[in-house]
């Protein structure tokens, strides 16, 4: 118990400091939300491998590190990280018309962002600014979906909300160009913790593309504890890219909570190629009839990286459709976990759920634990799932080598081929090409990635 108290101490004192010295006066609803989350946090404990949902992922390295909260204000980007930012920008080399919202060490960096956007009711703004200007949507939606009652990481993120991104798309509005939210963690002397927060609300019949990118400096010893809430109104369409490209010393724990109303369509592209330890929870509630979600995931773990994905689809009402394809590439001593929960509630008839997880092991030391979990409480449903773990195919390797390719080239090519199914689903061409390159450099095959000759 004492041990537990010590683990939480640093977060509790961060709360004190934030309240005392940093936060501007804020609306009562937000103050109360914080306090509720903090109270829950005090009662909760950080998960251990004895918790079923955390069986294969130990967060001990996180809870045992004395992370410093970042309380200073001006988010100057140190020289060393400017290069990193250039690389982030390279994610979208011809991002003409994209709205960029850049958050450095937990604070919006206005000089790096094209903000605020307010046109025809569309809002793209920093969270602290949106709270101050009292965007009504923020009050009605913030912290209403991601459950801080049961998850210590979400609870402390909520208690320590400081800044982040807010996107509000009004009814019927179609945002043509992507909105790119970039969270950057810089390198500091002591280990630091940030609590990124994103809220996206799409009004009835609206459409948007939102990209969240998480990066950190090469040597940044940072813990990113991110929470994203996506709220889709009736018939709205949201494409959501989540690019987790943190540096090799980073820890990343994230919850993405999606709430879908009638006939809404949500497509997720979750790419995880970074961090020493990453845990991504993606929870989708199909709460209106005819809602449709497609979850695409690609993760890479090499060296001693550990990456854990938990998805949960809750078919709460009839006529919901869910499609999931997650693929993983593991090399070295990389370790991956995939856990996909599909829940169909009583009465959610005609639910249609499909889930696939495929893993490619490039080394004998790499490990994957994959587990589908089905909880089907309605009778008229279609539900399929599959999981596979395999190696590169010997016949394919021989075929490639018989055409003159060296073994490294052949392995790189086939690995790319395995991941291509997902990469090619990415509709934004610049992003697709960049991710193909990142994948190849993540695998360090020396094979220069090009999708097409």
């Amino acid at each position: 118990m004492l041990q537990v108290a010590r683990e939480k101490e640093q977060f509790l004192s961060a709360y004190e400091a934030l309240q005392r010295n940093v936060l501007p006066p804020e609306p009562a609803w937000l103050r109360e939300t914080r306090q509720r989350a903090l109270t829950r946090f005090e009662d909760l404990h950080f998960p251990t491998t004895r918790d079923e949902d955390w069986k294969y992922t130990s967060v001990a390295p996180i809870v045992e590190t004395p992370f410093q909260p970042i309380l200073d204000g001006a988010p100057d980007l140190p020289e060393a990280d400017a290069a990193r930012l250039t690389r982030v920008r390279a994610l979208a080399p011809d991002a003409r018309g994209w709205t960029q919202l850049v958050i450095v060490d937990g604070r919006v960096a206005p000089n790096l962002s094209s903000l605020p956007v307010r046109r025809d009711g569309l809002v793209v703004a920093g969270l602290s600014e949106a709270v101050q200007t009292q965007e009504a949507a923020v009050e009605s939606h913030l912290a209403r979906y991601a459950r801080y009652e049961t998850n210590a990481f979400t609870a402390i993120n909520t208690a320590l909300i400081r800044d982040g991104a807010v996107v509000y798309v009004p009814d019927g509005y179609i945002v043509e160009e992507p909105i790119h939210v970039v969270f950057i963690a810089t390198s500091r002397e002591a280990p630091t913790v940030v609590h990124p927060r994103t809220l996206v609300i799409t009004g009835t019949g609206s459409q948007a593309v939102v990209i969240e990118t998480y990066v950190s400096a090469q040597d940044a010893h940072v813990f990113s504890n991110a929470v994203t809430e996506l709220v889709l109104g009736d018939g709205s369409v949201l494409s959501h890219y989540r690019l987790m490209l943190e540096g090799p010393s980073a820890y990343h724990v994230a919850t993405t909570q999606v709430h879908q109303a009638c006939d809404s369509a949500y497509t997720s592209y979750s790419i995880a190629m970074g961090a020493r330890l990453a845990r991504n929870d993606l929870n989708v509630l199909l709460d209106g009839e005819g809602a449709d979600c497609t979850l695409n995931g690609l993760y890479v773990a090499t060296g001693t990286q550990h990456v854990d994905h938990h998805t949960s689809i809750d078919h709460a009402v009839p006529h919901g459709t869910s499609r999931q394809l997650y693929k993983g590439v593991l090399d070295g001593r990389g370790r991956a976990v995939f856990n996909g929960m599909i829940r169909v509630r009583p009465g959610a008839q005609k639910s249609d759920a499909h889930q696939i997880n495929r893993n490619l092991l490039l080394s004998e030391q790499a490990i994957v634990d994959t587990k589908p979990q089905l909880e089907i409480l309605a009778d008229d449903v279609r539900c399929t799932h599959g999981a596979a773990i395999g190696q590169l195919d010997d016949d394919m390797l021989f075929y490639a080598r018989s055409r003159g390719m060296g073994e490294q080239t052949a392995r790189g090519l086939l690995t790319y081929g395995f991941a291509a199914e997902l990469i090619e689903r990415i509709a934004i061409q610049t992003l697709r090409e960049r991710l193909a390159q990142l994948l190849m450099s993540a695998l360090r095959t020396g094979w220069e990635a090009k999708v097409r000759p």
Binding site: D393, D394, D395, M396, F398, Y399, A400, R401, S402, R403, G404, M405, G406, E407, T409, A410, L413, L414, Y416, G417, F418, A419, A420, E421, E424, K450, V451, R452, P453
Partner: protein, 258 residues
């Protein structure tokens, strides 16, 4: 150019080839015939370096060098090409990219500069016209969803681009309609060259109506049981393979190295 001596090969502890002797000189076309299961593909795969086959005895010299100790990519770079009986599908990898990656490594080995994207596309377009292949197939994943005939054309396309010194075509003619057969045969005839040798592995003589071999060999009982000129193919077509057994081993057609 190619010298096979007393080659014994096992798969799964079963001996498939039991002392094959064969000698091929530059410019020659040899047909290797034999019933299903006689080991024709085993011979072809061993020459290309498939790791599943174990050579227990004998040797293979290519241009005077020990072929058996080279990895498959080294054989390809030295100029050995195998058109697979069952071309392999590679999901997610564009046909054109696959070919370019192979060609450029072969060129690098030969001290030639890499082809850039534009030069390669030009070459590819031209050779695709030559095998009458739809240009759109360049961007489709390697062999995935190709019909049987398209796969065989794709093998000929690869041969035309890689320009090997020794081409081994394993049943490239089988299962083809008459149009595809004409294209494949035309590909083979056009590639015939005084500096290039070909090994046509087939169990039908049909393709030999279009391509005239210099020698015909029968692989039976794990050995070359009979060798002859182009007329032997017709004889096999008329009489089947059973009578060959009674003839006993016959000296191979060409003797001596190249």
């Amino acid at each position: 150019m190619l010298e096979i001596r007393n080659l014994h090969v096992r798969v799964d502890r079963q001996e498939i080839l039991k002392g094959v002797d064969l000698s091929v000189k530059p410019g020659e076309v040899h047909a290797v015939m034999g019933p299903n299961g006689s080991g024709k593909s085993t011979l072809a795969q061993v020459l290309a370096g498939h790791p599943a086959y174990t050579v227990t005895e004998g040797k293979v010299l290519f241009e005077g060098r020990n072929l058996l100790e080279m990895p498959p990519e080294a054989r390809a770079r030295e100029g050995v090409f195998l058109a697979f009986q069952y071309p392999v599908e590679i999901p997610g990898v564009a046909n054109a990219y696959f070919l370019k990656a192979g060609l450029n490594e072969i060129r690098a080995h030969r001290g030639l500069p890499e082809l850039d994207a534009i030069e390669f596309l030009q070459l590819l377009r031209e050779r695709m016209r030559f095998v009458e292949m739809d240009q759109a197939m360049a961007n489709r994943p390697v062999n995935e969803g190709f019909s049987g005939g398209e796969k065989k054309r794709n093998e000929i396309l690869q041969m035309a681009i890689l320009e090997p010194r020794l081409a081994i075509l394993d049943e490239t003619d089988s299962g083809l309609d008459i149009d595809a057969l004409r294209v494949v045969a035309n590909g083979i005839n056009t590639m015939r060259h005084p500096e290039r040798a070909m090994l046509l592995v087939t169990h039908y003589q049909r393709v030999l109506n279009y391509v005239t071999p210099d020698y015909v060999h029968v692989l039976l009982g794990g050995r070359i049981a009979l060798s002859g000129g182009k007329g032997l193919a017709l004889e096999l077509e008329a009489k089947g393979y059973d009578w060959v057994k009674d003839e006993g081993p016959v000296p191979v057609a060409a003797e001596g190295g190249s």
